[in-house]
Symmetry: C2
Subunit: 221 residues, 2 copies
Amino acid sequence: MAGKVFFSVSMSLDGFVAPDDVPLDVVFSPGGQSDPRVQRWMAKWSELQAWIFPQRFFRENLKLGEGGEEGLDNDIARATYERTGVSVMGKRMFDGGALAWPEEAPFHTPVYVVTHEKRDPWERPGGTTFHFVNDGIEKALDQAREAAGDRDVRIAGGGTTILEYVNAGLIDEFTIALSPVLFGTGIRLFEGVDSDRVALEPVRAEPGPRATHLTYTVRQR
Amino acid sequence: MAGKVFFSVSMSLDGFVAPDDVPLDVVFSPGGQSDPRVQRWMAKWSELQAWIFPQRFFRENLKLGEGGEEGLDNDIARATYERTGVSVMGKRMFDGGALAWPEEAPFHTPVYVVTHEKRDPWERPGGTTFHFVNDGIEKALDQAREAAGDRDVRIAGGGTTILEYVNAGLIDEFTIALSPVLFGTGIRLFEGVDSDRVALEPVRAEPGPRATHLTYTVRQR
């Protein structure tokens, strides 16, 4: 049986999945940390993701050391990782991540990058191999499904890529970790959603200590 | 002991509390129902509020007849009504509501309307009296608190009025009934929120059969 296509992101209560658009190469540039825009970006990003940093799974997966919290938030972070056979991401997320991830990137699976850039597969220690796909989101998903077998395909991000998959009717379900923060500005997950086409069916809502985890199935109207 | 100041609204997963801005006097105008903009407005509004219409409390309160659903969604609708000693609303919500509510308006308490219009109190059958306050949101709230005694004051809406109270630091807590819909466009609850000032503390998340009820305390940073 084929797996599902899903996404899983942290969102502010007012609908943002990233702070104001400071380019990631600025965020991760040498000396970037002293730029006030970057400091603000980092502070907001940290609030959005605050639920996951202390979790045991997160610390294990990024080799940050022993210990960490256990409970619903941790269980959900681990389950999301374990169901994922392959990830798909946009070029901007890849470029940003390439600056931020440790050498042993935290996927440990094939990752398909939707890009115009032609490039050979990039194999990282620990089982992550990035494949660069040049013919659009559907073809990238076809390849990802094939590689995932009966496990699920995660559309990892960023927000623009996720929304392209939503509007193309290619997402089966998704989970939002709703963080108790208000951003006011930034990048909205559902900006430009085709609401005449996309309908949601609630699957479950799980109140974790640090975020509320909301899962929906996507239906076409 | 003084009561709390709270609001309680239905919000789409993408952050909207009302569909596109069709003026309410158009929505409720004679023949308005045949206007395609109004039909679209009504369809979206109905989806947003779909969780409450079938509830026993809602049907009772609007005298729509016997019966209705019971359960968490119903309990929350009833508890919100019962805690409310006084409501406060903006002029646009009042004008729209005056066209939509039955003669026996569904508040059964004093209601303070923030407006520039000078007008004598308007008493309705069933215990609702509208008072028109001309000197801003703080003075309206002072009068509402006084009248509410030890019960709570509900900032009823619309979205703009709620946000003015949020940004003025006058809200103690709020509950959002998060509806499983995406609007794409419309009126956003938190558009213009002062995110440098407002911080949230999660109180509880309650998964109802038709909506997820999220309660937060508001803190000043």
